[in-house]
């Protein structure tokens, strides 16, 4: 399903994912500037594929998907995926595609909005995620809203001569800081 509009601070908002936004994901993910902690930098990047996958995202009952907007422009995406509605548990993820905007706190605010929504509106019990341990910005953004480390997957992937570990986190309503 598509998430509702959630206005945040510092010009950041989560807005319902549109097909036009979705078509930006492929080109974003192919850039080396974002690939250090991301996927293989190839894929089925076609309009036809985007339309099919967007429909799956929009129709799916077990995920909530947003575009991250900054000053009203789409700059990335986030969501909660593979939600088990009995356990009330899901996996969260985030991607900032506009690498020229890294370091402005956009991801941190998006993570706060998403996590707040998980507790207040979805009545979830737990959210969890995997983050490259060396991606300090992403890890810190998650820790600020209550994610705590539950493990470390050593030597998860190999880039430019180094093995990268992955940090596994989990969060609960009771680990969420007081609302500002």
């Amino acid at each position: 399903m598509l998430g509702p509009a959630l206005p945040g601070e510092k010009g950041v908002a989560l807005v319902p994912l549109t097909l036009e936004h979705f078509k930006l994901h492929g080109p974003w993910m192919l850039q080396p500037e974002v690939g250090r902690f991301w996927g293989p930098r190839f894929g089925e990047i076609t309009d036809e594929s985007a339309e099919k996958r967007y429909k799956e995202f929009a129709d799916g009952k077990n995920s909530v998907n947003w575009t991250i907007a900054y000053l009203d422009e789409p700059v990335g995406f986030t969501g909660i995926f593979d939600i088990d509605w009995v356990r009330r548990d899901g996996e969260s993820g985030i991607f900032i595609g506009r690498h020229d905007l890294f370091g402005r706190g956009i991801a941190s605010e998006a993570i706060r909005l998403r996590t707040d929504f998980a507790w207040r509106e979805l009545r979830m019990h737990r959210v969890h995620n995997w983050i490259a341990n060396a991606n300090r910005g992403s890890r810190r953004g998650n820790e600020k809203v209550g994610y705590k480390q539950m493990g470390l997957f050593a030597r998860s992937f190999f880039r430019s001569g180094d093995w990268y570990d992955e940090w596994l986190g989990e969060a609960y309503p009771h680990t969420f800081p007081e609302q500002r």
Partner: protein, 194 residues
Amino acid sequence: MALGGTIRGKTTTLRLPTEADLDSYNRWTADMRVRRAHSVWHEPAMPATWKERFKEIAKDKQTVLWSIDAGESFIGFAVGHFWSMGNGFDLNHFVIDPDEWQKGYGADAALAFHRYLFDYLDVRVVTVDLRADNAAARRIAEKLGYAEFAHGHEVHYRDGAYVDELKLRMDKETWQERWNAEREYPPLAAEATN
């Protein structure tokens, strides 16, 4: 595309699943003993739905299904997922008929299966998630050489309460140290490549 082939253990054999197996999958999925121990692969459903699921997994490029026999009896199934880059494997479901528990079939099939993954497919790492109170599965995993890399709290819900989840991994190096004598094929003869 993603139905598994024959892997022989001492007392069990993983083999190509067939539509005739689907009734048993459904029965095990509906068995509360199985559901207490594991997450289910699919919920119980009518035969037509299982046939659709079977068609889907047969076409899947990365998820693979095996049925497990012990002698002439059909006693379980395994489902796992190959990583997109092909060097790792997540073992998602490994189900033995609860009427056949405590006969050593799980341990035998698991050893043969991991021999296939490390000795034949040459994967780098295998992962598995277990409910923290599934003592039988933990014993098998520890004996194989799995080590815990994460502990999720209050992850699974059943019997009116949450239970923790253990995330375990086994690396190729561990397999080679612990099970080096477990080979599917004998070493090549000296003159084989002459």
